[in-house]
């Protein structure tokens, strides 16, 4: 149907931009009141520009954007790390294990920091003639951790009113 898509890495480039924006808007709702939010806005602009410049000048549309992927993953890791510190500074009244944002942030932090690590090593794997599939297996394991935690966070968020009234 779209034969050009099999010859190009355009969706991956677009994915990097969308994921960066998605991360920014998600954490905006969580960290808008944080004193470091202005810095995070600036950081978002820098990361977005770097991803776009990478797609134009370094890893063109036919190359998989490993740098772009690493950048948006780093952006996720820094945002979730900062959010942990914000949680410490402004603790909620509900117990932490019933707090949806805690589980969302924990899953994001674990998934993207590990993912960042495994996305930086394919060059090493290729140069040592090791199958890149190894990272694929690790990624599947990570997804098995990530998505159930996101699901649990969504469940807690849907039942938030119940937990808040019971405390």
């Amino acid at each position: 149907m779209f034969p050009f898509l099999s010859e190009t890495q355009f969706p991956a480039h677009l994915f990097c931009v969308i994921m960066t924006a998605l991360c920014f808007f998600t954490f905006q709702t969580l960290m808008k009141a944080s004193p470091i939010w202005k810095f995070m806005q600036l950081f978002f602009v820098i990361v977005l520009i770097a991803i776009i410049l990478n797609s134009i000048f370094f890893q063109d549309i036919d190359t998989f954007p490993t740098i772009g992927v690493n950048l948006f993953q780093l952006f996720f890791v820094i945002n979730s790390g900062s959010f942990f510190f914000q949680l410490l500074n402004r603790p909620n009244s509900i117990p932490i294990f019933r707090d949806a944002v805690f589980w969302y942030n924990t899953s994001t932090f674990i998934y993207y920091s590990t993912s960042y690590f495994i996305f930086t090593i394919p060059y090493f794997l290729i140069s040592h003639e090791i199958s890149v599939n190894t990272t694929g297996v690790i990624n599947i394991v990570l997804c098995l951790i990530y998505y159930p935690l996101i699901g649990y966070a969504l469940y807690l968020n849907a039942n938030r009113a119940k937990y808040e009234t019971s405390n």
């Binding site: 410490l88 603790p91 932490i96 674990i110 690590f117 794997l125 190894t134 990272t135």
Partner: protein, 259 residues
């Protein structure tokens, strides 16, 4: 290094990474729980402090009311009754008619003062008649004394705030009026009721000598300013004091409307 050993190295690295992050999260949870407890303690402390301040403000209100009753009885009713006593003592056959009429007049005034005192102290009377009606009575009483010219301007609906808040606001306005009468040496007193954003605003302004700077710097507690400020805080409202020496004082009260 053999590929299998390298795969093992990578797997171990990932496991170590996940372990380090898990450790980080465990430490975070421990620290977070500590902070949560501290936060709860601080919140409880602030709430108890607030409750203490509310109690203190209520005690001050009662104290103010008692002082007002005492002053009103001493300055007005007491003097009128003393006058009536002298008038009765000076009755003779010649001036009986004239003196009895004079004494009746004095006693009528004393009854009027007592009635006004009773009404202005009765919260139910304010609740039943509303803020504007009660203020109109105050204005009439002030104008009746002839000490200063008092004017009431109204551009807002009094029904917009709750009955209890109306009584507290009325007491604050009374306090501001009393301050003006006792200390300001003003000839004109203006009470203006209006809306300010989602709040009812009452401004009490005069053209008196203003509050001395040293009292303003010390928050003018002696003039009941702290009590008025605390009462406004209780209503989640605002208290603003503007004063210029020899030009006058303006006190603004803002109380949120009931949605």
């Amino acid at each position: 290094m053999k590929p299998q050993t390298e795969i093992l190295t990578i797997a171990i690295s990932v496991i170590v990474l996940i372990f380090v992050m898990s450790l980080f999260i465990v430490l975070f949870v421990v620290k977070y729980k500590q902070r949560q407890k501290e936060h709860e303690r601080e919140k409880a402390f602030l709430e108890s402090q607030k409750a203490l301040e509310v109690t203190k403000a209520q005690l001050e209100i009662s104290e103010d009311i008692m002082r007002n009753i005492s002053l009103e009885i001493h300055d007005n009713v007491g003097q009128l009754l003393s006058l009536a006593k002298i008038s009765i003592q000076s009755v003779s056959e010649e001036n009986f008619k004239e003196q009895s009429s004079h004494t009746t007049e004095i006693l009528t005034r004393a009854i009027g003062v007592l009635r006004h005192l009773s009404k202005s102290l009765n919260g139910n009377f304010i609740r039943e008649n509303g803020l504007i009606d009660s203020l109109e009575r105050e204005v009439q009483a002030i104008n009746g004394t002839g000490k200063l010219k008092c004017e009431l301007v109204c551009d807002a609906h009094e029904q917009s705030i709750s009955d209890n808040n109306e009584v507290i606001l009325f007491r604050c306005i009374q306090e501001a009026i009393n301050n003006c009468i006792k200390h300001a040496e003003a000839s004109v007193l203006k009470i203006a009721i209006s809306s300010y954003q989602d709040m009812l605003q009452v401004s009490v302004s005069d053209n008196g000598k203003g509050i001395p700077e040293h009292l303003l710097k010390g928050s003018a507690d002696g003039l009941g300013m702290r009590s008025m400020r605390e009462r406004m805080q209780m209503l989640h409202g605002n208290f603003i004091l503007n004063s210029i020496t020899n030009r006058g004082t303006e006190i603004i009260f803002r109380v949120p409307f009931v949605l």
